[in-house]
């Protein structure tokens, strides 16, 4: 029942939202998202083998596709992230006024339903359906409520994701025809590799990988991302970067690495190199950005590159790190976007060079930002340290590649670079003397303190005591790892 509610509540609420008045829609969306959070928390409290976590009904009978959804460890942690994120997004952007707000919030809720569906589906066709369901509302949100260059940006976004999705569909259908009983079920997909030759897996890998690579994004499939982040309304950017990015990582963990273990193994080094190039490349570019949104966007590319690299390292430590880091990255980047949003709202600019001296005008905002920035550079006792530490340890001890040490050392350079661009940003926007623009700056309000306070609390609690997250995801780590392939 839990997974049905998780998808059903935002879906229904979204559809109802379209018919509401603009004023009511905002409260309605917040209410629905809090309800979803409640259900998600109930799901976590249930025992892992509870029947309440499963749902399976025939869907498209002629294709042997089922409406099969279930909530396992990986799903739990990502559903929790999604469920936490939406109320935070709604509260933090509460002051933002949208034209046709009912449509805006309706679409937001629809994309939440799609996201949760992606994390829950155990049927490939259903997974594809939700994948698109999550995407299409975001496309409209960005193109209707975005910045000046929104059309060009969303067009690029669309081209990338559309091509990716299309290839994934082809890949899924190919695998479908090679399952034993022509089924879309995840379990059938997990056995399909026995019937698909290594040579076939080698090319089939790319059909599915590109869809995920675009979504994460992995170099060189990433150039849609800074433009789209920059042009979308901040609430949408939060969804895109905090949550949609995880669709790609999640896809790797559930629908690619275990389904095509040989393909994944064969291309491990290639993808790892793409990740590392992307990490360094994006970190360097982040150093030279003046627009806050673009800087955060490139920093995210670097961080996601590490997560992808860790998946291909195929070790217990690295995959455990990925699980934790998917959650942490979502929390931290949403925190950063909230700060960016608050700055833009107050000063009408995102240019770092036009800001300065905010620390003397807004000490609370500064303190919050500094903590979030430190989490972003994975300082110990923040959440990201746990994830990055495990991922790096796992990459170092990887047996999936002979270049494990080289990969670790080159990827570790971004630990330095991230400090460079984050501290540059903190210094230039928040420290130094105030200027004419920031002279009239004021500190943040109560609701904003509340939201940032929750994020900071999550950062520190997970950073000091990550044990609950380990317990939640441990079984999934082993399950994924048991299906992946490493040359003995």
């Amino acid at each position: 029942m839990v997974p049905v509610l998780l998808i059903g509540i935002p879906l229904l609420a979204g559809l109802i939202g379209f018919s509401l008045k603009d004023v009511a829609a905002k409260s309605w969306a917040l209410f629905a998202s809090l309800l979803t959070l409640g259900v998600s928390l109930v799901g976590i409290c249930l025992p892992k083998d509870s029947r309440q976590l499963l749902f399976n009904e025939p869907w498209m009978g002629s294709l042997n596709s089922h409406f099969a959804i279930s909530l396992d460890g990986t799903g739990q942690i990502l559903c929790l992230l999604t469920a936490i994120a939406f109320p935070l997004i709604f509260i933090s952007t509460w002051k933002e006024e949208y034209k046709k707000a009912h449509n805006f919030f309706g679409l937001m809720l629809l994309s939440q339903a799609g996201l949760l569906g992606v994390f829950l589906a155990t049927d490939a066709l259903l997974f594809y359906f939700f994948w698109e369901l999550a995407l299409i509302p975001v496309y409209f949100l960005a193109s209707q409520w975005g910045g000046e260059k929104r059309i060009a940006a969303t067009f690029k976004f669309f081209i990338y994701t559309f091509l990716g999705s299309l290839m994934m569909l082809i890949g899924i259908i190919y695998i479908y025809f090679h399952t034993r009983d022509h089924s879309f079920a995840l379990s059938a997909f997990y056995e399909a590799h026995l019937l698909i030759s290594t040579e076939t897996q080698a090319w089939l890998f790319w059909f599915i990988f590109i869809a995920f690579a675009v979504k994460m994004p992995i170099f060189p499939f990433h150039t849609w991302q800074p433009d789209t982040y920059e042009q979308s309304p901040t609430a949408v950017t939060m969804v895109l970067s905090g949550l949609m990015v995880k669709m790609g990582v999640f896809g790797l963990l559930r629908w690619l690495a275990p389904v095509l273990p040989m393909g994944t193994y064969l291309w491990g080094d290639t993808v790892s190199m793409m990740c590392i190039i992307g990490m360094i490349y994006a970190s360097l570019i982040a150093m030279r950005q003046d627009d806050l949104k673009r800087m955060v966007a490139y920093s995210s590319i670097a961080h996601i590159g590490l997560i992808c690299l860790a998946v291909f390292a195929t070790t217990e430590l690295s995959i455990q790190g990925v699980m934790i880091q998917m959650f942490n990255h979502g929390i931290n980047i949403i925190g950063l976007w909230i700060v960016v949003f608050l700055i833009e709202k107050q000063f009408n600019t995102r240019k770092i060079s036009e800001l300065g001296g905010l620390a003397s005008k807004a000490p609370v905002l500064t303190a919050m930002l500094v903590i979030i920035a430190l989490a972003n550079i994975a300082l110990p006792l923040t959440n990201a340290f746990i994830g990055e530490f495990l991922m790096f340890s796992g990459i170092y001890s990887s047996k999936a590649t002979v270049y494990n040490v080289v990969f670790t050392v080159t990827a570790a350079m971004t630990i330095i670079l991230s400090a460079v661009y984050m501290l540059n940003m903190v210094q230039r926007a928040f420290y130094g003397p105030t200027n004419a623009l920031t002279e009239k700056g004021v500190d943040i309000r109560m609701n904003e303190k509340f939201v940032l306070g929750i994020i900071v609390a999550l950062i520190i609690v997970v950073g000091v005591y990550p044990e609950p997250l380990f317990r939640l995801t441990q079984d999934s780590v082993n399950a994924v790892l048991s299906k992946m392939y490493v040359k003995p």
């Binding site: 150039t223 360097l284 070790t315 670790t408 630990i415 130094g432």
Partner: protein, 629 residues
């Protein structure tokens, strides 16, 4: 008592939270008091632990608070290790820390209320992380403290954040430390890979089974971490800039405690270093090079804090020399005496700066002896201690390191003594130009000159006493049997001082005599040269190189910073915008173009459709024909 060790870091953490969360509502007088009282409480607990650890037959205790990380079969507990080494550092950190907090109450009193709380909040947080660093029973907890103190150093260097130069100094400190930290981290990854544990006892027990090559690699990586935190070549350039922070911060973080973290870490890992002789040599030579380089630069600096900063870099070099020649407890001894005399010197400098209304240039000072009598006497004690004049504390610790170095290689000794001579010279140049001769500042400054309040002078007196007598904790065995209390105390962790026993007593006396006479002569030379006529001219030739710090900052800028920025620009402007984006947009335009072309097909004119239909039919007909064959 050692079961309550968690109280030691807990008190500063509470102080941090109180001052951090209520910084607006808390009255100014209270926030300084809370901050200081918390460190005093930690010191009392530490002293209790010390008396327990000191007893014969004490076994190291590990206190586990909770499981920090566990993944697969790797478990990393959040646990503390109480043994003589960590206990000694507890005493240094909380003891010197308490005095510096006390001093800060007076020194920072001009600050307005929320900033004043912020200062004590950060200072408490620093002590918390520093205590974690020395208490951690595994490399990960050590690393938490390690990066934590780096963070506090960043926050405190940039305490006056409105000044861009200070912010740059703070950022530079953090980033240079991060470079070292990456080395440290990679070493931890390798340790996990090899030993599947990060606990000191497990790793050290298993270490002999690893190959020398592997141990050399990880010890060198750990050392890279140490060069960042402890300001050695090649990562030392942040420390002089870090003097932008308030002077008590320089005393606590950038002299007495944080910068010795690298020495602590290597002393803690001495089992690994003993198995990796190449790394030991690298440590020793890096230490020696740093001693000389920093000392030469210090000779030509005119900022009172900069001189002290370079002398810190140089003194840390001695400690690394000690570590490199296997004289671990001697190196730790120097950490202890250095904490006393260097904290003292910095606090005296603070007192001088305070009296001079913020002036730091020694060219505008002179003759302060009669205005600041307590500061003058205590500063002189500190100078004698650092110059290695018997029986001041620095003499004993430096001498023991130099003797051990002689045992390893006489050349080490000669270079070390040369460094000591330069040290004596620049310290007494500093002393003479500041306190002797005539006052060279403005009349306004002269009018304002005054001795500091008692919250500032009391710590000076206490530290001065420690700087004078602290050396008797480690009197060489040469003078009396079993007189080296410190070495005896540390021997369960670091082993006895086997190194020095190889040298015959007569040689040792001679070495001691030579270094003392040379240092003393440099003191007298500097005094006679600078007390009457301080040099004020522009340096030329080699002196100019020394004054300009051998252009190392400029070198790094040209070799690393600028090329990296250029590469970043190339990536962004050329590859990102032109190449990748160009390709994607090209594809996009192609799609748009072709769809525009295809649109002509649906023009709505019946004639066009008919034409197309005919063409289509004909085509199909032709295809059909060919397929028939």
């Amino acid at each position: 008592m050692s079961n309550y060790v968690y109280l030691v870091p807990l008190f500063p953490l509470i102080g941090f939270l109180i001052n951090g969360l209520f910084r607006k509502s808390i009255p100014k007088s209270l926030s300084g008091l809370i901050g200081t009282a918390m460190i005093l409480a930690s010191f009392i607990v530490s002293a209790g632990i010390f008396f327990q650890v000191k007893q014969e037959g004490f076994q190291p205790v590990t206190i586990t608070l909770f499981q920090f990380i566990h993944a697969g079969n790797l478990t990393i507990p959040f646990s503390f290790l109480v043994d003589p080494l960590s206990t000694l550092f507890l005493l240094i950190i909380t003891g010197v820390g308490f005095l510096i907090h006390l001093y800060s109450i007076g020194y920072m009193k001009e600050e307005n209320a929320p900033d004043y709380s912020k200062y004590f909040c950060f200072l408490n947080l620093f002590v918390f992380f520093m205590l974690l660093l020395v208490l951690g029973s595994n490399y990960v907890i050590l690393f938490i403290g390690w990066e934590g103190v780096g963070l506090c150093s960043y926050l405190l260097i940039g305490y006056w954040f409105k000044n861009i130069d200070y912010d740059n100094a703070a950022k530079k400190a953090f980033i240079m430390n991060r470079i070292g930290d990456v080395g440290f981290l990679i070493a931890i990854f390798a340790i996990i890979y090899k030993f599947n544990s990060v606990s000191f006892d497990t790793v050290f027990q298993a270490a002999p089974s690893a190959t020398t090559g592997f141990l050399t690699a990880i010890t060198l990586l750990l050392f890279l971490g140490a060069t960042g935190k402890s300001a050695q070549i090649p990562l030392y350039t942040w420390l002089p800039d870090a003097m932008a922070g308030p002077t008590p911060v320089s005393a606590l973080i950038h002299a007495a405690t944080m910068v010795t973290a690298g020495i602590y870490m290597i002393a803690r890992s001495h089992v690994l270093y003993n198995l990796a002789p190449i790394s030991q040599t690298v440590v020793a030579i890096t230490g020696l090079a740093t001693i000389i380089l920093a000392a030469l630069i210090a000779v030509k600096q005119n900022d009172i804090k900069k001189v002290l900063a370079y002398s810190t870099v140089s003194q840390l070099g001695y400690m690394f020399l000690g570590l490199g020649v296997g004289a671990y407890s001697e190196a730790v001894f120097h950490v202890l005496t250095h904490a006393f005399f260097k904290a003292l010197l910095f606090l005296c400098a603070g007192s001088v700066i305070h009296a001079m209304s913020g002036e730091q240039d020694i060219r505008s000072m002179g003759g302060l002896k009669k205005y600041l009598p307590i500061t003058h006497i205590t500063f002189l004690m500190g100078c004698l201690a650092i110059s290695g004049i018997p029986p001041f504390s620095g003499f004993f610790s430096k001498d023991e390191i130099l003797t051990a170095a002689y045992g390893k290689n006489p050349v080490y000794f000669i270079i070390g003594v040369a460094g000591a001579m330069i040290t004596a010279f620049y310290m007494f140049r500093l002393y003479a130009t500041t306190f002797l001769g005539n006052f060279r500042g403005t009349d306004k400054q002269q009018h304002h000159l005054h001795e500091s309040p008692s919250t500032m002078t009391i710590p000076l007196v206490v530290l001065a006493i420690l700087a004078v007598v602290g050396g008797f904790l480690g009197v060489p065995e040469l003078f009396a049997k079993n007189s080296n209390l410190l070495s005896h105390f540390l021997s369960p962790v670091l082993g006895g001082g086997e190194g020095s026993e190889e040298i015959p007593a007569s040689t040792e006396w001679m070495l001691m005599g030579v270094s003392t006479i040379l240092a003393l002569s440099m003191v007298l030379y500097a005094l006679s040269r600078f007390s009457k006529k301080p040099e004020l001219g522009e340096p030329v030739g080699f002196a100019k190189w020394m004054a300009d710090k051998f252009y190392v900052d400029e070198l790094y800028d040209t070799l690393i910073v600028k090329p990296l920025n250029a590469l970043a620009d190339f990536f962004y402007q050329i590859i990102e915008k032109k190449l990748i984006d160009g390709l994607v947009n090209g594809t996009g335009r192609l799609v748009q173009y072709s769809s525009r072309q295809l649109r002509y097909l649906q023009s709505g004119q019946v004639g066009g459709y008919v034409l197309l239909m005919v063409i289509g039919t004909v085509l199909l007909f032709v295809v059909q024909l060919f397929l028939r064959k």
